[in-house]
């Protein structure tokens, strides 16, 4: 496959899934003729035909609800919602049906389906196009929530999500779609849903993030290293089920943790991670766990975007303060 960006990796994964499993179908708004608003499904209608790739009416609840029915009947639907801010009309289907049918039927029925949701800000988009409300999905029992930040993980996690016997909400960091490139294998492979990925090993401090904020987190790590700090970077990758052990292992070693996400602070997923870390390794902590997050404000429009998104400076400053402790 050679060097690809995250968007191309996702496109390739969908192509592979459609080619290798006849139960896989794609449905969503504008995913056929135009290849989707982010072109993630580009060319798939031509390659796989109109019985596999469906443009749908503008109806998110309908898309997810219909995909649910298809999944229960034995298909492996992959639904696309254009932006996270448009996913809420489908939230009822997700929380009340998709996440519950296995429990409701005591395993008699299941909904093996993937809901792909581009999320996050930083591209100067209109209102509702920059949301990162992952914690309202991670809070739902019965679904898995996955967020890749590299092309390699994007392909492997998406194929794993499509294979998974349970529903997966698959969040795609919009501003990384074309910002990260890497060589990935041109074969069918999966990346396990669950384990965190230790992206960089270090001894002094653990930076924990996922999705789009991995970019700034990586930059912050490089800066800190240049200052002589040994930094461990964790890409959480799966918000639910959370790899609590993997997080604790790292912080037990470093004794310090900074959690970075672009969603608002209050009720943000960083709170869950911080709580989990202190439950497991409070006595290894050398300093309080710090969160660097978006503010408790509405995600702003283009001109104020940089005032909102956690910048590299904020991460470095928080890390330095933590290291003083």
């Amino acid at each position: 496959m050679g060097e690809v960006n995250l968007a191309q990796a996702l496109n390739g994964a969908l192509d592979t899934a459609l080619g290798s499993d006849s139960r896989v179908v794609l449905l969503g708004e504008d995913i056929g003729r135009t290849g989707g608003v982010f072109r993630i499904t580009d060319g798939l209608l031509d390659t796989h035909g109109g019985e596999r790739v469906f443009d749908t009416p503008v109806a998110e609840s309908g898309i997810v609800g219909a995909a649910f029915g298809m999944a229960v009947a034995g298909m492996r639907p992959v639904a696309e919602i254009q932006f996270m801010g448009f996913s809420y009309p489908a939230y009822d289907q997700v929380i009340n049906h998709v996440a519950r049918i296995r429990n409701r039927s005591n395993h008699r029925f299941a909904a093996p389906m993937v809901i792909r949701v581009p999320y996050g800000g930083g591209i100067g988009a209109a209102e509702h196009h920059s949301e990162s409300t992952e914690s309202i999905y991670a809070h739902i029992p019965g679904i898995k929530v996955v967020v890749p930040s590299t092309p390699r993980d994007a392909r492997g996690l998406l194929l794993a999500a499509i294979e998974d016997p349970d529903p997966v909400v698959f969040l795609e960091p919009i501003r990384l779609y074309r910002a990260v490139k890497e060589d990935i294998p041109d074969i069918y492979y999966t990346v396990d849903i669950g384990p965190v990925r230790v992206e960089r090993e270090g001894e002094d401090i653990t930076l924990i993030s996922w999705g789009a904020m991995m970019k700034e987190t990586r930059q912050a790590a490089v800066r800190l290293e240049s200052e002589g700090v040994s930094v461990e970077v964790l890409d959480v990758r799966t918000l639910s089920p959370l790899d609590r052990g993997g997080l604790a292992d790292s912080v037990e070693k470093t004794g310090r943790a900074v959690i970075i996400h672009e969603a608002p602070l209050t009720g943000g997923f960083g709170g869950e991670i911080a709580a989990s870390i202190q439950e497991r390794c409070l006595y290894s902590l050398l300093s309080p766990i710090v969160r660097v997050t978006g503010w408790d404000t509405v995600f702003p429009l283009k001109r104020s975007e940089t005032h909102y998104l956690p910048a590299v400076d904020r991460i470095v400053n928080a890390a330095e303060k933590t290291l003083e402790g």
Binding site: G65, F68, G69, Q93, S105, H107, P141, K144, P165, P241
Partner: protein
Amino acid sequence: MSSRKPGLGRGLEALIPMASQTTNDAVRETSPDAPKDMFQLIEPDGSVLDRLPVTLEEMRALYADMVEARVFDHKSMAMQRQGRLATYAPFEGQEAAQIGAAAALRPQDWLAATYRDAALNWRAGYPWRLLILGRTGDERGGEVPESVRILPPSITVGGHMIHAVGLAWAEKLKGSDSVALTSFGDGATSEGDFHEAMNFAAVYETPTVFFCQNNGFAISYPVHEQTRSETIAVKAEAYGMPAARVDGNDVAAVLAVVREAVDRARRGEGPSLIEAVTYRLGPHTTSDDPGRYRDEDEGEDWRSKDPLTRIRKLLEKARGWTSEWQEELEKAASAKIEEAVEWAENLAQPEPEDLFDRMFSTPTPSLQEQKKIASDG
């Protein structure tokens, strides 16, 4: 082949080839009280308006099913009052709509119905014992046998209609001849989900039958206040979908109409909407007091249109009913339901671990940890 853009009358005609215009006129002439354009085969007094879609023996079987359903309904109400069932949503008065619709389905067909559809679910293959188990407050009640393609009852209003679109869509893509029927009430047609489901079904021509039991009320809110549409059926026209309006208390008419819609879907001719006009004789649920929103006279009027009574009268005329048979039916139904209740009530209580084990195909590490805490106490 039916017209794709039927008017209300034409929609009826399209779906019911056997119901000639003469029949419709006959309905109006012989039954001035019957709502306009409502397909009917048997009047409340038991007189037959047109050729019936069933033999006498089949009619006796449908009647027996309705009796059994009513015994279940009464038993469930009583059990709820005794604290043995959680909230129960009775269907008394709607037996013809539910038994008639279920009788039109085949085992390979999917069904996605509501909390008020115990009779429909049962007649389509959902065992009484599991319906009862579910109402005692046990998730195992949703575990229908492997051969049964019925989703556990949906408790939220209207969210399940689109499921029948997805189920049918999958069957169409797989090239099977299964169809999906979704049952819902008049109240659900106000949900945005109704629009999305109807539109998706029409757009993708899925083999879905939308079966609306218009029982007059969304809890307390009368149907004529819920919508300015003249009927529920007329809404189908906007989606380019044929529709029929049928006397929901006439089991033969319901069976004929649903059978036609199901056959049509099976032939690959797409979805349709059926409005079965009926009446919920009981409360919305066991926690409801209908005296606050409707008068007793109305109920009495509908009692006179009881779906069981009219078939009994018809069978009596045809020498297909005796009071001894009625007694036998009720006794047999009671025994069956008693047995189901006994099974459900004697089933071992759920273990704390069960909570964790049915969330995913394999419990996640987090759930395993919580499960351990739960069982260690």
